[in-house]
Assembly symmetry: none
Homo-oligomer: 216 residues x 4
DNA sequence: AATGAATGAGATTTCATTCAT
DNA sequence: CATGAATGAAATCTCATTCAT
């Protein structure tokens, strides 16, 4: 795979963080170096894929020595998990901001169709295939996010759904279409994109007519 | 699968083989090992992710020596590309079958929401981020598939779309929702799934009412 | 060494040609393919060094399949030896032509200082370090050549050497200076070259004055 | 040899090390392994040719693990370059010593005709054909050496040259003859050697008569 | 006369990780 | 806090060679 070597899963399903907490610093850290490593790791994952995100590569990106990465994150999986958690927290904040904005539904849609966080999320989904800790974290985060959205959508749209849709279903549908647009867009696929966008917007207009006025 | 009489791809990548590409024997004897490798590679990618699909790992899965994998596929990328192309051809066939069935729209929807081909497709999308050859192939295939679907949808549903939807947009929307269901389902996320499914089916019922009778 | 892998010397000091003569064709062959392989091998050795001249690489250069190279030359060393022998024969011819020309001494000097055959010769000398068969062949050829030259120089210049020089010594001196010029010239070293050339020519003029007139 | 306080060259080639090159410890502890690798590499190149100098082979010669060789020299080319540079520095020292001796011209001639450093130098010239970094280093070193010699020869012999020879040309001529003697001698070619040696010495006697007395 | 298949060895390089300091 | 040294494992790829056809 030329450069994409699968790391030997020395501790595949191991208690990846708790057991060695005592040994080395793990978990949120306020130091600059810690953030620097996460930034570098995110960059590498985004640009070259999770398989390229070795501790050496991350250290190089950060301008640090590999040993230091291991000092902060005993295991490379720890880096992945920390990057995911930070990214998930950022997504949460963005969604929270969307949901508390003037026009929550459309803000949510814009978030879903936004390309910026998509490549990273996709890498983590692919990664989840063989890093169970990542998979569990994704599920946890995804469930919480959908529940939060569903609650707010219910409160906002209440009885409006006439097509058999429910808040959670609505959230999933928007997310699915948005993600497809973002993912395909990044690959360079554009056929049907404008039409799909227009279709969703027309649909939202029917569901949330009042917001048309308040929308920027 | 073995019906596509795949030829070993040593020829295209090996520098010394250009002169005799045409003479390459493509009988079943040759294809067996070739198909075996592709099967093994697909299995590994599906189960453990593309990053785990090393020539060693693939060979082990196929019960072959690693050297033999390199004999058929000089480069690991060649394996990926061949697996993708074979998978794409299979998808094409499935879609074609769906589109020529009694109830093409719902068959298409069932294909999109089907979990079986999804993990593999996702791996390739992730892989495409840093393997341009894969990316190009995905785009090519995806564009062709969407065009084919749009043409048939147009012919079937014609003026029925009342929401500003168009055939290509419709295809994308169905694909996006289906993929979200499949991907999340595989991860273990289920919130909102039944509702989303019901919603799509209700929508399809409004668009393709006649088919309700013919559907199983 | 990235691409320069030392071939495992499976049969290092083995009777590299005699023993398997019966098995496969070896030794001078008049077929086109045989010459094609030698041409390709020479090209590769010249351009990329002897270490890059693998049977695969040679086959690629010749547009043939690797198996065919092995069919003509059971061992890669056989290729080297054949290339060397052919090159040596060509050098012999060139020297013979020089020695029978109007101005043999200067023609010999021009041959020595000629760059064209130098890179190849150098590769063979380097190769001789660990392929004893090559080394033996070089010594044999070199001794014969020097003897032939010495005989002719003696006949031409006879008693002219006043500096304690003898024909064989004279031949070696010319060869050494010429080779240095050629070798350094190819590397891009030029300091002192014009001066050395002028020096040799002045020397030859003193030794072979008559030829000044006959020289073109 | 260990007196040149060589630093491990991990720094220059390893991407992650730029920041701390200055901090690299260069104490004897570090240098030992480094020098050990260089010694082993030089030995292998000398005995079996540059093509045999794989990281495995070098490690075996040094009694180290192959990984350790890569730790010090990320790339096999780095080993070659380091060996060349060290050898060049040693040559420089030897030449400097020759040039500052009682009888510099004859000492230089003895250096040129010395067999000990010749095999190695030849390997590097052959290597230079397809390793441009090596080639550049050879040219650089060779030019500097010739200039230094020419300057000193001029100062010593000044107007003595009567045959159209100049200091730089003289240096090249001596080097060429000396190298031919050394190289052929190593191969086992001896025809004309004594005569050539006698010829050069007679020539030097005419050029540097005074030294006859001081010479051992 | 020629060639596809196969294979074991080995070369280069990268990795994660440990450890002593 | 941080890091240089070291190492075993693995990944990718190339080789020479054999063999059956």
């Amino acid at each position: 795979m030329s450069g994409l070597t699968a790391r030997p899963c020395t501790a595949p399903a191991a208690p990846y963080a708790q057991a060695m907490t005592a040994k080395r610093r793990i978990g949120p850290d306020t130091s600059e170096t810690y953030a620097l490593i996460l930034d570098a790791a995110e960059q590498v994952i985004r640009d070259e894929g999770y398989a390229a995100a070795s501790s050496r590569r991350i250290a190089a990106q950060a301008g640090l020595k590999p040993s230091l990465v291991h000092y902060y994150f005993p295991t490379t999986d720890d880096v992945f998990l920390a990057v995911f958690k930070r990214g998930a927290a950022q997504s949460d904040a963005m969604i929270e901001q969307a949901l508390t904005s003037d026009d929550p539904i459309r803000a949510l849609w814009r978030f879903f169709a936004d390309t910026s966080r998509n490549a990273l999320a996709l890498e983590f989904v692919a990664l989840a295939n063989h890093r169970k800790a990542i998979g569990a974290e994704i599920v946890k985060h995804s469930d919480a996010m959908r529940a939060r959205q569903a609650a707010l959508i219910e409160q906002l749209l209440g009885q409006r759904f006439g097509d058999g849709a429910t808040p959670a279903g609505f959230s999933l549908v928007l997310a699915g279409i948005g993600r497809a647009l973002a993912m395909e867009g990044e690959l360079g696929i554009t056929a049907g994109h404008d039409e799909a966008r227009a279709f969703v917007e027309a649909w939202l207009d029917r569901l949330v007519p009042a917001a048309i006025d308040t929308k920027s």
